[in-house]
């Protein structure tokens, strides 16, 4: 295998196993107290700011960041264990998910000292939520074709016009890290001339319009910018370095266990009743796939701890992982006869319905599997 695709096995981490047990105990208590209900794909749909604040109080947000920014200086392996436990339990983690996973690390890498001191402690406390401002109505996989523009005014501030879409939970969030074009397209280098801005979603000129997904849920939005004045000191990183920064951000976005655990609550519901040889075989096959993905994802966490940014292995894991989480629905349907319905009296029927109605998203969000395979192909030396 080319070394671009493979990573060394993750060394065992006693600290990660310890915090895993702490999270497990916390979640059991919260479930027993009725503070949340298990659902599928809760890192998209489970918005619960109060729950996010509780996680912040436990020290489980901003885990790997420096203490001076409200972080806890834990390892990526420890953070991995925490996120895995939350996802497996189907806990409501959507409010803070993007901020904790990628916006915070992006600020740490590219933010100014003032930006970090202002924002990172609030993210770590579970009080400040972010959305991803990348895709646009006419720019999906071809991200370099974005048309949202920002131009400098006389005060050195940026004036933004355009629209971003699929901005999950923008209506509950405080900031959007927004990729904008700050120089005309250079046909010789399409990746030049883009910049990331830290946009406060309460600024005048911003309109947030809901876009409902298949199950009727309101998570996605269109965020429209009309002459929005973003202060010059809210530029994130270098002017013109937006593409490079987005690439780094995507390595975080694509690396985690949410890329194979979105449908785990369905697997767990199935496991509770699996008893026939066919059901056990299906459960075993799904388990083997899941275990292989855990190993790959753990290797990425270990690589992050080594200071690497494994963007190509992350693309590979996301491709294999999201294929798995999408396959779960059909695999279970093949051995049980429970109609998928959000109104089903059977929890398995409800979990099947949730997983099915969210299924088209798994292999699209964060980069379609076709885009990811293109990245893997580059890792194989094919392009």
């Amino acid at each position: 295998m080319p070394s671009t695709l493979t990573l060394a096995p993750a060394p065992p981490s006693a600290a990660a196993e310890q915090v895993r047990l702490e999270v497990r105990e916390f979640l059991a208590k919260e479930l027993a107290a009725g503070s949340f209900e298990t659902h599928v794909d809760t890192w998209l749909s489970g918005v619960d700011p109060a729950f996010s604040r509780k996680l912040g109080e436990q020290g489980w947000l901003g885990m790997t960041w420096p203490a001076r920014y409200g972080g806890h200086e834990r390892t990526a392996m420890e953070r991995y264990a925490v996120t895995e436990e939350l996802l497996a339990a189907g806990a409501p983690v959507a409010a803070h998910w993007i901020a904790d996973r990628q916006s915070g690390p992006n600020l740490l890498r590219y933010g100014t000292e003032a930006q970090r001191r202002e924002i990172l402690p609030r993210i770590a406390a579970g009080e400040c939520f972010f959305v991803i401002g990348m895709s646009e109505p006419d720019s999906g996989s071809d991200l370099a074709s974005i048309r949202t523009r920002a131009v400098r005014n006389g005060d050195g501030d940026w004036v933004v016009n355009g629209a971003k879409v699929w901005t999950s939970n923008a209506h509950h969030s405080h900031y959007a890290i927004t990729l904008v074009r700050t120089a005309p397209v250079d046909t010789a280098n399409r990746h030049a001339g883009m910049t990331q801005l830290l946009v406060d979603l309460s600024l005048p000129g911003i309109t947030i319009n809901p876009i409902r997904i298949l199950d009727g849920g309101h998570h996605f939005n269109e965020v429209v910018f009309e002459d929005v004045v973003v202060p010059g000191d809210m530029q994130l990183g270098e002017e013109g370095a937006g593409w490079h920064q987005v690439t780094a951000e995507l390595a975080f976005e694509r690396s985690g266990p949410e890329r194979f655990l979105s449908t785990f609550p369905l697997v767990a519901e199935f496991a509770r009743r699996a008893s026939s040889p066919a059901e056990l075989a299906t459960l075993g096959r799904l388990s083997a796939r899941l275990l292989s993905l855990r190993q790959l994802s753990l290797r990425i966490a270990a690589a992050l701890d080594r200071g690497e940014l494994p963007d190509i292995p992350a693309a590979l894991v996301k491709d294999v992982g999201t294929t798995f989480e999408a396959d779960v629905v059909e695999a279970i349907r093949e051995v049980v006869d429970v109609p998928a319905s959000l109104d089903s009296p059977d929890p398995l029927g409800r979990a099947l319905a949730e997983a099915q109605l969210h299924q088209p998203g798994y292999t699209l969000r964060g980069g379609t599997n076709e885009i990811l395979r293109g990245i893997v192909a580059r890792g194989l030396g094919l392009r």
Partner: protein, 338 residues
């Protein structure tokens, strides 16, 4: 991989370079010359302790030997000897036969042990007709035992797997045997050995396919430049990487002496499940030449199609794994497995 294993891999590769894989037939059941070269280099005893007659070294070294031979389609019983039968014989407290004499394992069939002798039929024996000794699972008066028998003078049937590797039966008629307690993880070790072989073979098939796609020109471009081909190769890479990570994790579990069965089950299921995707896409990309015995591809794809069935197929091991995971709280079970 440590520098010790790098050296082992290098040595095995150098030996393999002098032994092109050949189509196996009942008249040419294995690569005896390859075995002799490996034995002369001490590689047929890697991972088995020197005091027992082995060559010493770690389990990881033995795994490296097995993986390298699998990648080179070496027709020798090294996986069975180094990873399954050899360790089982020692775990049962029996004397390891000389490691330059091939040893295999027999887990299927109906064999009884009584009064120092084994009787019955053992089926689907890897390298039947080739090996000198066999570690046989037999039913003793007080439960199953591991019986070590000399089968060098015994005939076997000519059954073979899809790659022509011998998988015949022996009829044991009161053959003298040493016996010891049956090691609990024998079948799991066998499954893991096959998973190690599958992982190595799949990785090589991917490398061959990437290479071929870079060399074969159609419509004025190498196949590798077509996006459709790139998608297929990336999908293969995903499977190969996933298999390799899980197999590595199961091997590490064995190294640490932790319970193996479920980790081995998962590794065998995952490796077996990847075979269809990897072999199918490899053949698709190779086109018609890959469908012939003139091209090397078949040496590995035929082995992969067989190895996934051997030592328990995906369904068998998935049921074992599924039974362990089923229940009120599957998540802690899964996170405790590898």
């Amino acid at each position: 991989m440590s520098s010790d294993q790098d050296l082992v891999v290098q040595t095995v590769r150098e030996i393999l370079a002098g032994h092109e894989p050949a189509q196996l037939t009942p008249d040419r059941r294995w690569d005896a010359a390859l075995w002799t070269d490996l034995a002369d280099a001490g590689l047929t005893g890697v991972g088995l302790p020197e005091e027992a007659g082995g060559s010493g070294g770690e389990l990881a070294d033995a795994v490296a030997v097995v993986a390298t031979l699998a990648a080179g389609a070496g027709a020798v019983p090294v996986a069975e000897q180094l990873l399954v039968a050899g360790p089982a014989v020692l775990a049962a407290g029996l004397d390891l036969p000389p490691v330059d004499q091939p040893l295999s394992v027999a887990v299927d069939g109906a064999v009884r042990f009584a009064d120092g002798r084994v009787t019955g039929t053992t089926t689907a024996v890897a390298w039947a007709g080739v090996v000198h000794h066999l570690a046989v699972v037999a039913a003793g008066p007080d439960g199953d035992v591991l019986a070590l028998v000399d089968v060098s003078g015994l005939g076997s049937t000519d059954a073979a797997n899809l790659a022509g590797e011998p998988r015949g039966s022996y009829v044991l008629e009161g053959l003298p045997a040493q016996v010891g307690p049956l090691p609990a993880d024998l079948r799991a070790r066998y499954a893991l050995a096959r998973a190690v072989q599958l992982s190595a073979a799949a990785e090589t098939v991917l490398a061959w396919t990437v290479q071929y796609a870079g060399e074969r020109v159609q419509f004025g471009r190498p196949l590798a430049k077509f996006q459709g081909i790139q998608m297929q190769l990336a999908q293969m890479a995903g499977e190969v990487t996933a298999v390799s990570a899980l197999v590595d994790a199961a091997v590490q579990r064995l190294e640490r002496g932790e319970p193996l069965e479920l980790a081995a089950a998962a590794a065998k299921v995952r490796a077996g499940a990847a075979v269809d995707v990897v072999a199918r896409l490899a053949h698709q990309v190779h086109g018609a030449i890959g469908f012939t015995q003139e091209h090397r591809l078949h040496h590995l794809t035929k082995r992969m199609w067989s190895w996934r069935d051997e030592a328990g197929n995906e369904t068998t091991w998935a049921r074992v794994l599924g039974a362990a995971v089923a229940g009120a709280d599957p998540w802690p079970v899964l996170t405790g497995l590898v």
